[in-house]
Symmetry: C2
Subunit: 478 residues, 2 copies
Amino acid sequence: MNNNEYVKDITNIEENFAQWYTDIVLKAELADYTDTKGCIAIKPYGYAIWENIQKYTDNKFKETGIENVYFPVLIPENLLQKEKDHVEGFAPEVAWVTEAGEEKLDEKLCIRPTSETIISTMYSKWLNSWRDLPFLYNQWCNVLRWEKETRPFLRSREFLWQEGHTIHETEKEAIDRTLQMLDIYADVTENLLAIPVIKGIKTESEKFAGAESTYTIESMMYDGRALQSGTSHYFGQNFSKPFNIKFQNRDGKEEYAYQTSWGLSTRLIGAIIMAHGDNRGLKLPPKVAPIQVVIVPIAQHKEGVLEKTYELKRELSKNYRVKIDDRDKYSPGYKFNYWEMKGVPIRIEIGPRDIENKECILVRRDSGEKVTVKLDELDRTIEEVLNNIHTSMFQACKNRIKEKTTIAYNLDEFKENMNKNQGFIKAMWCGKEECENKIKELTGAKSRCIPFEEENLSDKCVCCGEHAEKMVIWGRQY
Amino acid sequence: MNNNEYVKDITNIEENFAQWYTDIVLKAELADYTDTKGCIAIKPYGYAIWENIQKYTDNKFKETGIENVYFPVLIPENLLQKEKDHVEGFAPEVAWVTEAGEEKLDEKLCIRPTSETIISTMYSKWLNSWRDLPFLYNQWCNVLRWEKETRPFLRSREFLWQEGHTIHETEKEAIDRTLQMLDIYADVTENLLAIPVIKGIKTESEKFAGAESTYTIESMMYDGRALQSGTSHYFGQNFSKPFNIKFQNRDGKEEYAYQTSWGLSTRLIGAIIMAHGDNRGLKLPPKVAPIQVVIVPIAQHKEGVLEKTYELKRELSKNYRVKIDDRDKYSPGYKFNYWEMKGVPIRIEIGPRDIENKECILVRRDSGEKVTVKLDELDRTIEEVLNNIHTSMFQACKNRIKEKTTIAYNLDEFKENMNKNQGFIKAMWCGKEECENKIKELTGAKSRCIPFEEENLSDKCVCCGEHAEKMVIWGRQY
């Protein structure tokens, strides 16, 4: 399958998807393993993708009134313990600071796995009256969860994310905010990353530790597995009671605030790799690609070629992120493969003959399609092609979801579908956790969500056959 | 001195500068103390200043080819110990993770106090040939140093910063980069924050643990104390040798890389407060102010006033960061004081009469000056006034440095000057650490730097009277 020299070191995507993934992370220079076990170093090319995600998302947040803040990375043990479900969920996977400044600490401090506890403590201090509400704060930061098995971007002990934390006067306002942020996540994933998502609500057993309800966007990777790409939680008063976040309401009475939190992380870089990549390497959605157009000069030693290339770059850089590969130790063929592997959406080839004809060759990374373009139409053509690439990549993922989503009415069908065509399965569910557990045990699939777009397939649970009202989307997951 | 109701809770700046500082941090809602001792929560108004600093600085970095990356927050103990001076300098003030995932760790991990060690380890892995060089990487992140005495922004156990780490083929290139980044820091401090700086080189005893030489920008605060506002270090091969960062040079021989690092931090927010503030509160330099113009409607219940105010805001928001204070529970007078305390550079007052006359009143935070401005000239006037405010604020700091910088030829003069007019002292120094120590003991002043603009005051050390060639700037410090 790997028909060129450069990518011969990349494992075939059909043969070993997990190894293919790791190969891409390393060869495309997105990240590397470090001496700190389970933690990666994000290299410039990977970090530039994250910066593009941050910029887009942060703007969307701010348009809705969100402000950025920063809370301490260390959380005293007693704060973590205040909300029962939360501590049960997170305590097993936190890292503890027990010594500092050459002394043993009186109280251990954990490195934040998420910041509900420390933020709630401060909200309690800052909130007095309904007039102060809402608090609409977010932080971009690092968090740490001591995972046993780690994979770059997908499950790293340390990862980068944003966590938004809001408190509100009413339940309705808080729920509206929870859903509004979910919509932003869907926007980011679909419109920036070209990855279609399914929006829905998590079942009880899959929701965030301490939440009243957790909303999710679920996407499907190349191999049919699901990736939870962002979650938004409604807490009700679950934290505001133990943390004493209360205010004088409009009637002059004390009331506990209604709270939300929501996050997305560098996991999305893993999603980009696994949703779009192929045997030639990474395939970057144009809007987050650190380099949107790479220009490869042909016969660059010939008079006027490099000059023309630089001129072209100056021109195109006004509207696009452009790079020239003028390395003299590599052949054009090597460079073609190299930049395909790095996932750059558009390649421009330009040599003496092209310059003479006032044209160049434009090659799409997604389809491999080559066209000759007049130089005076290049700027406009690039815009059009980048848009087309985005749309095609989105559509390809959409088609995959269609092909790999099946319906099951009983467990045998469920198992057969999952083994024959790993993907999403739509099936009715009675609402009992034991049915979820049984399905997981037998098929490896977990409930992804109860989608907002409900369908009524039957009135019987796929597992126990008892009365069922909810349709759940199931899938194996990352 | 505090002649208005709002600021009556702010301590007089002349009476107790330290308490005034804390009052400003809290009342202007820049930050708050947290349950994590020695760590602050940065509130939206404070964080927005940091975001403006980040944006400006990050652009300047990128213009010089710097790329952003991210390395792990946890560093294994054995890495910290590889460079002798570095570990001596930092080990006493780090926090250690000793337990994680409910188990005791085999090897302790420290939370980065700075990242030379982990980054050098990766550079060693990534570097092969001179063709790979330079590496020009930077990260925006949190770091932790277990300080005994802490103050918000100035000396917080956790703080936010950027740390740039570069490696180069030659000594010259590395030194040039060190100085280039120092120039960017001076640019940020002077052109963005309106705080003049003195550039220079640190003495041996004041340089960064592990550096060959440390360059600094020093600024002077309201009370005459110095604040080190950014540092840039040249490492030579001090890290590349123990960390084995080597490459094949142009002659095909192995050579160790030449290295730099440089950082600036949320300390700069402390510098803004202390360089510019006064008895009315914070005074923000226009270019970093989260709100540059606040509009206060007068008689806002009267027909047309709020409408006109919103229209004005829409118009001005195209070019400036504008806020309307339309809270109905506060009087205009209260609002004036409130926004002065928050340091907003320009206030616009507009009431029914003004609207009729197609004008408004514009008030400068820095000088208190009030002018009437025609509405159709407002946009242009604001631009001009913001520029003037920047220049005046810069000049005021410049004047302070002039007034509070004296020369001393012997220790008696040194002590007298420092006690009568706390500020910078220029004095010759023989180069011996014992003289630095003695001066510190007797006067509380440390060497700030040997400034790039050298002066030759005499040929005798201010302390021991022996031969001296260097002039040092001394000062008490934050």
